[in-house]
């Protein structure tokens, strides 16, 4: 069961040496147990935001709560959240000493440390690396040692700043797999910043766009699942509860994304060229946060799926919560990651 982990209200941040506001977030809630992805270009404020949440930077305006207590002076936040840099810095020592550091300062026993280092290194796929010097590792290996060093203290929240920025394609795939393993093995919340769009969609449970310090919830439906080939011509994406046609692409796709405005609605069955025509029940109607003339209609089709229509259409179609509606979207409206 997900609980409210961070609650951010009216956060504004400017670096002391420069009065320009680099972060301006009115309202944001982050739930526990999920992989939250911050997607944005370089300089959008992702690193600053992660460092504020990790208390490496003290914010000067607004309020942030962590586990329903103010983040400022929050000792639990200090001890139970770990930030991993974009290019992590390893201590000039062996891999073992690096990974063991968090436990040593917590006065854990040597036997306990030894077994946990071994276990954590196996989680990140670096078994047998204990005696290697940190300077002799590749960028991808350094990244994984830094993640192991963070994981060994069993944090509630793991912040990963651009984990794929300086690693090759093979290591990006490894890190993707690693995030899934971490979630399963440690059950911690992971907050990742990235500008790698495919990576973001593949690993996320929720995604947040950050541009020039402002957050925007993307108006898109994200489904996790797998591709199933029905026949030679068509391929479907199956989320377990809902399956739909998507473009025929080769690859190991785990995420399907459909923009709200690519799904159109009808109050009665209609014949269209769209491959996906489904009946659903309206479960929620709310005004779009960025445009008062638009409404977001949430429907239940086995999974929750949202569409964005104008208020005028809502009125003309007489849509209401609990009412039946037909959804239509083309296979080409589905983006696969």
């Amino acid at each position: 069961m997900s609980e409210l982990l961070y609650s951010i209200r009216n956060l504004k941040y400017a670096y002391p040496q420069n009065e320009e506001v680099v972060l301006d977030i009115d309202r944001l809630d982050l739930e526990s147990g999920k992989v939250h992805v911050l997607l944005g270009p370089n300089g959008s404020g992702k690193t600053t935001f992660l460092k504020i949440l990790n208390r490496l930077i003290e914010y000067n305006q607004g309020e942030i709560t962590f586990m329903r207590e103010s983040l400022k002076q929050n000792k639990v936040a200090r001890q139970k959240t770990v930030y991993v840099h974009q290019n992590p810095l390893l201590f000039s020592a062996t891999v073992y000493d690096n990974v063991a550091y968090g436990l040593r300062i917590r006065k854990a026993g040597p036997k306990n440390i030894s077994s946990l280092v071994k276990k954590t290194l196996s989680v990140v796929g670096l078994e047998g690396f204990e005696k290697r010097r940190s300077q002799a590792l590749s960028a991808g290996e350094k990244q994984r040692v830094a993640i192991a060093r963070a994981l060994i203290i069993k944090p509630d929240v793991l912040f990963l700043d651009e984990p794929t920025a300086s690693v090759d394609k093979a290591n990006v795939a490894r890190i993707e797999g690693l995030l899934t393993a971490i979630k399963t093995e440690y059950g911690c919340t992971i907050i990742v910043s990235t500008h790698n769009i495919p990576f973001a969609y593949r690993v996320c449970d929720s995604i947040l766009h950050l541009e020039e310090g402002k957050t925007a919830e993307p108006l898109e439906n994200i489904f996790k699942g797998e591709l199933i080939v029905n026949d030679e011509q068509f391929i479907q994406f199956d989320s377990g509860k809902f399956h739909f046609y998507c473009p025929y692409l080769e690859g190991d796709f785990k995420t399907a994304v459909i923009d709200y405005d690519r799904i159109f609605l009808s109050s009665a069955p209609v014949e269209t060229s769209a491959r996906n025509n489904v009946q659903g029940t309206i479960s929620k109607i709310e005004t779009a946060y960025n445009n008062e003339n638009l409404v977001i209609v949430e429907m239940d089709v086995g999974e929750k799926i949202k569409s964005c229509i104008t208020k005028k259409s809502l009125k003309e179609m007489r849509l209401c919560i609990g009412g039946r509606v037909y959804l239509h979207f083309k296979a080409s409206a589905v983006r696969l990651y």
């Binding site: 990790n54 201590f91 000039s92 968090g102």
Partner: protein, 225 residues
């Protein structure tokens, strides 16, 4: 050439006076380096970790003191420990302890400055990494010392290099007394003024060897980082 031949003869024959001078130089320099390390390393660390008014000014003064002439240090300490000086009652003038005192004054700014600048070069991510992993004040200090161990050792060796090769302090405060305070540098000055180049050269060869050895160690340490 003849002087060179006699110099090597003095070294390899184990001449008692030459080796007494070398031993005196080494033990005085090692003691003064040890005392300076005990004072200079904590001072450099404190300077790095603390913010206070006029810190930049203090750092500039310490850096300026790197060029302190040895005779000025000798003069300063002489005025302190001479009979009429405030520390005259210690009665250490023209003893090895007087040289130690002068050499500590001479090498203290070197060690403080090198430790401070070395720690300033430690990557900013290092402290963030420690803090995010839950390290507190004492843990941060310990980890910094371990991480900067090569910088600190280099500072100590640089301090040693400075005191083993100085002549002004040893001459003014030790008095170049045979079998007691005569060091390699004061002996070289004396013997060469007397025209006895063989002993001066023998000591010069040993001094240069020690200097090269210390520099070699510093170079290896820096390379190892």
């Amino acid at each position: 050439m003849e002087s060179f031949g006699r110099a090597f003869q003095l070294i390899f024959s184990g001449n008692r006076e030459v080796f007494t001078i070398v031993f005196t130089s080494l033990y005085i320099s090692i003691i003064s380096t040890g005392v300076t390390a005990c004072l200079g390393i904590p001072a450099g660390i404190l300077l790095h970790f603390n913010t206070f008014p006029f810190k930049r000014g203090l750092v500039a003064v310490i850096n300026a003191l790197l060029a302190l002439p040895t005779v000025v240090v000798g003069l300063l300490v002489f005025s302190l420990i001479s009979r009429s000086g405030p520390l005259g009652s210690l009665n250490i003038l023209f003893s090895p302890w007087a040289i130690v005192m002068g050499q500590v004054v001479l090498s203290f700014p070197i060690m403080v400055s090198l430790v401070y600048s070395g720690l300033s070069k430690v990557d900013g991510r290092f402290y963030e990494t420690l803090v995010t992993l839950g390290a507190k004040g004492r843990n941060v200090l310990a980890a910094t010392l371990i991480e900067a161990r090569f910088v600190i050792l280099s500072a100590v060796l640089a301090g040693f290099g400075r005191v083993i090769g100085e002549v002004g302090v040893s001459m003014m405060l030790g008095g170049n007394i045979r079998w007691y305070t005569r060091t390699m540098t004061t002996s070289i000055a004396l013997e060469s003024s007397k025209g006895e180049f063989s002993q001066a050269l023998a000591l010069g060869v040993i001094l240069v060897t020690i200097a090269l050895l210390v520099n070699g160690i510093i170079h290896t340490l820096v390379k190892e980082r």
